[in-house]
């Protein structure tokens, strides 16, 4: 009994839409009938976020050409490319490949950086991403560059309703370090807090610039020290594929949209030692689904 003779293509598509994007790709290799169902718009529209249409049309970037893609191609396009949304295009939107959930990134301009308002360029100044050839390419028009500050405090806030519901999210600080940066041997404190919850917000140490990056000769020693730090004390950064650095601020679970009208607050600061710091370049804060460990 060949089920493709008993079940019409719409039924097969319906069944496939209840699996996952990865399964759907695999299923297109089963047989001709499955391939047709597995690549259908019906299936991939189910994998895209429910409000994808709205998000795309609100974006300034080429929504017309995006709408011409098949839903499957649109899905993969949004996985590999971010589109700018929000006022002043200071938020970027993407999809997480495995789950189809939303990934959002707040530009540096969207964050509140103490002393970074722009009228005190002695402390922080704003660089257009095209101006600096040394830095990795930015998806936003500007990045924040730290010239010199003692009180380092960066905060981000995002409403949970624009994220995908019933998802565990991780928040990541995306940045870079200039040559000649200083002041980051001491760790900064990172914390994350759901606004309408009482608990949470415990600060964790984060080493933005562990010694290994400064290229000292005693590399081996640094590695061991780093491992120690990692286990006991705080978080370490990693370099992303787009060449920016990232360090985890924290994680939270975004519940269902009905009962959660609040926002998430993310904070990175160093206001205790108050040593002089310089050379940090802030790209933004990214929120993306985190797998259940």
């Amino acid at each position: 009994m060949d089920i493709t003779r008993t079940l019409p293509e719409e039924c097969i598509a319906k069944i496939i839409s209840g699996t996952s994007p990865r399964d759907a790709c695999r299923l297109s290799l089963v047989s001709r009938a499955f391939e047709a169902a597995a690549t259908s718009n019906f299936v991939w529209e189910r994998f895209l976020p429910p409000d994808y249409q709205e998000i795309i049309s609100s974006s300034s970037s080429s929504s017309a050409s995006l709408n011409m893609l098949t839903k499957k191609n649109l899905y993969f396009h949004l996985c590999d490319n971010s589109i700018l949304i929000g006022n002043s295009n200071n938020t970027s939107f993407q999809i997480d490949k495995l789950s189809g959930k939303k990934c959002l990134m707040l530009a540096a301009r969207e964050l509140s950086i103490i002393w970074g308002a722009g009228d005190t360029p002695y402390y922080w100044n704003w660089i257009s991403s095209t101006q600096s050839p040394v830095l990795p390419k930015s998806r936003f028009s500007e990045v924040a560059h730290l010239r010199s500050v003692c009180w380092l405090e960066i905060k981000g806030r995002i409403e949970t309703k624009i994220l995908s519901p019933k998802t565990k999210y991780g928040a990541y600080f995306i940045y870079s370090m200039e040559n000649g940066c200083y002041g980051f041997q001491t760790p900064v404190k990172v914390s994350i807090r759901l606004e309408n919850e009482v608990e949470g917000g415990d600060a964790i140490n984060a080493y933005l610039n562990p010694r290994i990056w400064s290229g000292t000769h005693d590399q081996q020693q640094s590695n061991e020290e780093l491992l120690q730090i990692n286990q006991q004390d705080g978080r370490l950064p990693i370099r992303r594929e787009d060449m920016w650095m990232e360090i985890e601020i924290g994680e939270f679970f975004n519940g269902s949209q009905v009962d959660n009208h609040g926002a998430v607050e993310m904070c990175l600061k160093e206001v205790q030692v108050l040593n002089g710091k310089s050379g940090l370049v802030v790209h933004g804060i990214e929120l993306r689904p985190k797998e259940e460990s």
């Binding site: 299923l27 297109s28 993969f76 590999d80 990692n230």
Partner: protein, 363 residues
């Protein structure tokens, strides 16, 4: 009738029944309120006035056989009662859905033809659980599906929108594989029987190809004595090539060079043996981190669809080695794995949860 008589007739005892006929001709009576739960039957009763007697029984769609009908009616009988709690309904559904896959499919089909959406949703979800995580081969087995996609279709190169060098290399691998498939197509014309047998399960063919068997086949094509001279030269050519192959550790250069030299289908057979060398070593596990750790220092600029002939041979060799290296790192069930890997690129983002450092540090 006196009032007394009227009082005896209790309204609860009067239930209307509907007559349904399945495709096999058998007719049965069903309580109207139960049958009306199905939109299609409801439509027939109300719009067309059918079902009130045996002669006017409602003809059910062909996909509804008596067995499925009785299951569907059980479902309707339970759910059409209004007083039930969500918990009760869920519990019933969970028990109801416990049946073998074949039945689930038939049930989905039957419910779909009766437009009974809640049941279709329920069975679809159950079937999705059955399907997810399985390989295409397993799914073909479960549902008795024909493997009717051609090799070419399975190897459809994926769009390389991110300019990923790995994907470019893989597309080249695909292009070559497609070419080899075309060569094999020529062979098919020579003799269908043995070519089908030989090349049917390309993916599972073992790396080691018996020298003798190829020669046997060659002699079979050439039909014994008539072309023995031709046979000998091609044999020796093949032997030389084989030696070279072993030295170069199974590089596929020869097959490409020979493509240029010989136009007849004979050498395609030798190409066929070369193809086997492309297989990844069984037992080698490939995990995505391995793939990502490969360094691809040379960004080769040319179209994915190009066949290799126009390229400088030294560069070609380098590319070929890289391609094979790459191919060898992948799992044996590679067309499927390939689709998966290409569709999904890196698994998630390049984050290591424990904060360990990535290799790119040296830039």
């Amino acid at each position: 009738m006196s009032e007394f008589d009227m009082a005896v007739i209790q309204p609860e005892m009067i239930k209307s029944y509907i007559w349904l006929q399945t495709a096999d001709g058998s007719i049965q009576q069903v309580e109207q309120e139960v049958a009306m739960f199905c939109p299609m039957i409801c439509h027939e009763i109300i719009q067309k006035g059918m079902g009130s007697s045996k002669t006017y029984a409602i003809s059910l769609p062909q996909r509804v056989n008596p067995c499925m009908l009785s299951l569907i009616l059980d479902y309707c009988r339970f759910h059409q009662v209004t007083g039930r709690s969500n918990k009760e309904r869920k519990s019933f559904d969970e028990k109801f859905i416990r049946m073998d896959t074949k039945r689930l499919c038939e049930l989905t089909s039957a419910a779909d033809s009766l437009q009974l959406k809640p049941l279709v949703d329920l069975t679809s979800r159950a079937l999705a659980r059955v399907i997810e995580g399985k390989t295409p081969e397993e799914i073909r087995e479960i549902f008795h599906l024909p493997d009717d996609l051609t090799e070419e279709e399975k190897l459809e190169p994926l769009k390389n929108s991110t300019d990923d060098p790995r994907i470019r290399l893989l597309n080249r691998l695909y292009a070559r594989k497609r070419k080899e498939l075309k060569e094999r197509e020529h062979l098919k014309e020579v003799d269908d029987n043995w070519t089908c047998h030989m090349f049917q399960n390309v993916e599972t063919e073992e790396e080691h190809v018996d020298d003798r068997s190829v020669e046997d086949l060659l002699s079979f094509i050439n039909g014994g004595n008539g072309d023995s001279k031709v046979l000998k030269t091609s044999k020796s050519k093949k032997k030389n090539r084989r030696r070279k192959e072993q030295q170069k550790n199974a590089s596929v250069d020869e097959s490409i060079e020979s493509q240029g030299k010989d136009s007849n289908g004979l050498n395609s057979v030798c190409n066929g043996t070369g193809v086997d060398k492309l297989h990844p070593h069984p037992g080698e596990t490939s995990t995505l981190p391995d793939v990502e750790d490969d360094t691809f220092p040379h960004k080769v600029e040319f179209d994915d669809g190009d066949i290799d002939d126009e390229i400088d041979p030294a560069l070609k060799e380098k590319i070929d080695r890289e391609v094979e290296d790459f191919a060898r790192r992948l799992n044996s069930d590679w067309p499927e794995r390939m689709q998966e890997i290409l569709s999904l690129g890196q698994e998630g983002r390049p984050v290591n949860e424990n904060g360990s450092l990535r290799r790119y540090a040296s830039t």
